[in-house]
């Protein structure tokens, strides 16, 4: 099968890696024994410095994890399910996002320093209702008033 070998600079978790791929070479690969298509091992003629490849016959992108170099080259690969499948139309509920977010939702992952910050401020009306004097109110019985009057 024909394959294109790339250098991939994208984070493995990047869905669309097209802009991160730089083609190195084209080669011919042979599936090695009874490998599976999710984690296949290919026989190759040459070593490569690439870390990513596209297998034309399968139509999938693979992350090239390991090359075993003896008399024959083996490319131990892992299918890039994010880039190989068209996920653009997949309906999702996004819990967290880098650009589109709602700051009123509590963020349990936000690192908070142990130290609290204290703010204080005093305030009063223009003219205080308080004074430095002490005044008194005395309650007296009216009964006695009547008697005296």
């Amino acid at each position: 099968m024909n394959a294109i070998i790339y250098t991939n600079t994208a984070d493995p978790r990047t869905v669309n890696k097209a802009e991160y791929l730089s083609q190195i070479s084209e080669t011919t690969l042979t599936l090695y024994n009874s490998t599976n298509l999710l984690n296949p091992t290919f026989k190759a003629r040459h070593k490569t410095t690439g870390n990513y490849l596209y297998v034309d016959g399968l139509g999938y992108y693979y992350i090239l994890n390991q090359i075993t170099d003896s008399s024959v080259c083996y490319y131990v690969c892992e299918k890039d399910v994010l880039h190989s499948n068209n996920l653009s139309g997949l309906p999702v509920t996004v819990a967290r996002n880098e650009f589109d977010y709602n700051m009123t939702i509590a963020d349990s992952l936000l690192p908070l320093a142990q130290d609290k910050i204290y703010y204080t401020r005093n305030f009063a009306p223009d003219i205080s209702v308080f004074s430095n004097t002490t005044e008194y109110i005395l309650g007296v019985t009216i009964e006695e008033v009547t008697n005296n009057e």
């Binding site: 999710l38 399910v81 999702v92 700051m103 963020d107 908070l112 401020r121 002490t134 109110i137 019985t141």
Partner: protein, 661 residues
């Protein structure tokens, strides 16, 4: 800017449930379990020790303090000894002793410093000196009872070159912590020669002296410090145990040490200090301090007080809120609180008089001073045989009930008991205590609990917690009151979502009841004696029951005890027009007469790439292509994909753990 003494008076601290530190003895009482053997002579020592004990693991330094007084042409040195061990921590060489009029401080006088937390000089330093030098410090001459204090302290940090650490003349001054950190700390320094110097008494007027009781020789002396001086704190990394007896192993203040070379066969290490820990350090001494901790930004920091103890934590004031204190407007521009119909209209006063909810036939007389009140009472004693029988209540208020500005009450002059007095006729429904705009400190969920709390101190009412919704709004504080019962209630209102909402209420006492002694009658005394006799008998019965294990008998006695008191006292009240008053919380009068808003919030410290590596909460739905950047999905449904189940599981797992789109 608010002064810390206004914020954390002993009374306001008490309102928070913390321990009041006023007076000093109270502070010690707090630690009663370890201060049983306190004496007048060692009281300051103990306070000092307690202070550090309470700092717990926040205490990086023991009480190894020195004082060094310097003037332009003269200086003298005083050694201050460890308050616990009485061991000298040494003396700075090169500082010559000098004493001259009006200095009364002896050359090589001995003493010690301690931090003081009281109502007069919060967070000040207090010093005791020894009367005469005593090489042993363990006996002989007692400590002087003269103390001096520093009303406030500013902070500067000095650095001493390790090679000349013992020479005070080689001080290099860094005017701000920022300078220190950036010039020395980042470069590192020899760990066992760290010296931080705090100075601030550049203005001698800040110093004051006070004679305290019990001078040893019975003479009255005063002590003053006429010159500017330095007070510095001296601590030794790794070697402090030599002086204090305590092992200074708290490394949280320092980054990992760096080996910087070898001198005289000794390895020298560098301990870069953590910048924020400098503030902790300063705060651990209870200082209010300012500093350019962030370049070009002068900040004021206050020490945190928790349960009456300086914790070593600090907080920063808000430099600029919405408006200046002096510009608060009157609060007549918003609707008034409506707890009852009497408050509907400001212009209508509440009538006070017969049958108006007062439950009695009394007149309430207004006296603007105790002198006038006394004249009336004296007059009353001439008018009737038993003047106190006519007195129902007497209340005092820390406010001008009648003034050109605030007329809490209206009065009219009437003749009562043949005497012209002011009779209370009505009172206003409420007064304003001011308003304040509360900022959105974070502008996100952190402005709400449990991340941020809002507390309000209201004069005469104490602290109350405000709901989260007040952030970003203006709150208005009112005081409703009843001058007859002396009770009051603060009402806090805010306009939230266009509606006026009462967000908090807090009851308090506007005034306090004065003691009124009932002089009348044998009958009342008999009633009281009768109550006491019944009480005693019941108590004896209770004790007997407990001793004999007769639990039921004890309960029965307890019931009779309560019954005896209530019945007898109830009977006694039926026959008297006089009432036995009780003292209220007059100490509340001394509380701050201003409201205080306190906001305690978290310090969120997300890394700069937080959004890109962790993301922010989104909670939106849509196709995956509608989003970009770092994305974490939840409960992904892969049913539309044509790949194998294994791949779907893998895709689902990846999307739920975070991908880049």
């Amino acid at each position: 800017m608010s002064r810390i003494s206004e914020i954390f008076t002993p009374s306001t601290i008490a309102q928070t449930g913390a321990t009041v530190l006023n007076p000093l003895k109270t502070y010690i009482d707090v630690q009663s379990t370890v201060t049983d053997k306190l004496t007048e002579d060692n009281i300051a020592d103990t306070v000092d020790s307690l202070f550090f004990m309470q700092c717990g693991d926040k205490t990086p330094f023991n009480t190894t303090l020195k004082i060094n007084y310097t003037a332009s042409t003269r200086e003298f040195t005083e050694d201050v000894y460890d308050a616990t061990t009485k061991m000298s921590i040494g003396r700075i060489s090169g500082a010559s002793g000098y004493y001259n009029n009006p200095l009364t401080w002896e050359y090589n006088a001995q003493g010690y410093m301690t931090r003081v937390h009281d109502d007069m000089n919060l967070y000040s330093l207090k010093g005791y000196k020894r009367n005469y030098p005593d090489s042993s410090m363990l006996g002989g001459y007692p400590f002087s009872n003269y103390e001096y204090r520093t009303p406030k302290i500013s902070v500067r940090i000095y650095y001493i070159d390790p090679n000349t650490a013992q020479n005070a003349n080689t001080l290099t001054q860094y005017t701000t912590p920022y300078d220190f950190i950036n010039n020395k700390s980042k470069q590192g320094y020899i760990c066992n020669s760290i010296m931080l110097y705090y100075t601030g008494f550049s203005n001698s007027s800040l110093m004051w002296s006070q004679e305290i009781k019990g001078t040893p020789d019975g003479t009255v002396k005063t002590f003053s410090i006429p010159y500017s001086n330095n007070v510095y704190f001296h601590f030794y990394q790794d070697t402090a145990l030599q002086f204090s007896g305590l092992n200074f192993t708290n490394k949280e203040y320092f980054d990992e040490r760096i080996h910087v070379g070898t001198n005289y066969n000794y390895n020298n290490y560098v301990y870069p200090i953590k910048p924020d820990k400098i503030l902790n350090f300063i705060a651990s001494f209870g200082f209010i301090f300012t500093g350019e901790f962030t370049k070009n930004t002068t900040q004021t920091f206050y020490p945190e007080v928790n349960s009456g103890i300086i914790t070593g934590e600090y907080f920063e004031n808000i430099a600029d809120w919405n408006s200046d204190n002096s510009q608060w407007e009157n609060t007549d521009d918003i609707d008034r609180p409506k707890p009852d119909k009497n408050l509907d209209d400001d212009t209508e006063s509440m009538k006070i008089g017969y049958g108006y909810g007062l439950g009695g036939f009394c007149k309430y007389l207004y006296f603007s001073s105790s002198d006038i009140l006394e004249l009336f009472v004296n007059h009353l004693s001439h008018e009737i045989s038993n003047p106190t029988s006519a007195v129902v209540s007497c209340s005092s208020y820390p406010i001008a009930l009648k003034s050109p500005v605030n007329n809490f009450i209206t009065t009219s002059e009437e003749t009562v008991y043949g005497y012209n007095v002011q009779v209370v006729k009505s009172q206003l429904p409420k007064v304003s205590l001011g308003k304040i705009s509360i900022p959105n400190l974070h502008g996100n969920f952190l402005d709400n609990s449990p991340y941020t709390t809002y507390e309000l101190y209201i004069p005469l009412c104490g602290w109350t917690t405000l709901p989260d919704k007040v952030h970003g709004t203006t709150i208005y504080v009112y005081l409703t009151y009843d001058v007859i019962s002396t009770s009051c209630k603060a009402i806090v209102q805010s306009v939230i979502n266009g509606e006026l909402v009462t967000v908090a209420e807090k009851s308090g006492k506007l005034g306090t009841s004065e003691i009124i002694s009932a002089t009348d009658n044998v009958a009342k005394q008999s009633a009281i004696v009768g109550a006491l006799l019944n009480t005693t008998g019941s108590a004896i019965g209770l004790a007997t029951s407990v001793a004999t294990g007769n639990v039921l008998g004890g309960i029965g006695s307890g019931l009779s005890l309560g019954s005896a008191i209530s019945q007898d006292l109830a009977l006694s009240h039926n026959n008297y027009t006089s009432a036995t008053g009780c003292t209220g919380d007059r100490s509340d009068f001394a509380n701050s007469h201003e409201c205080y808003l306190k906001i305690v919030t978290v310090n969120d410290t997300p890394p700069t790439n937080y959004n890109h590596t962790v993301g922010r909460p989104c909670n939106k739905s849509g196709s995956l292509s509608a989003f970009s950047g770092y994305t974490v999905c939840t409960n992904v449904d892969c049913s539309g994909l044509t790949c194998s189940d294994t791949e779907k599981q893998k895709i689902k797992s990846l999307l739920e753990n975070g991908v880049y789109i």
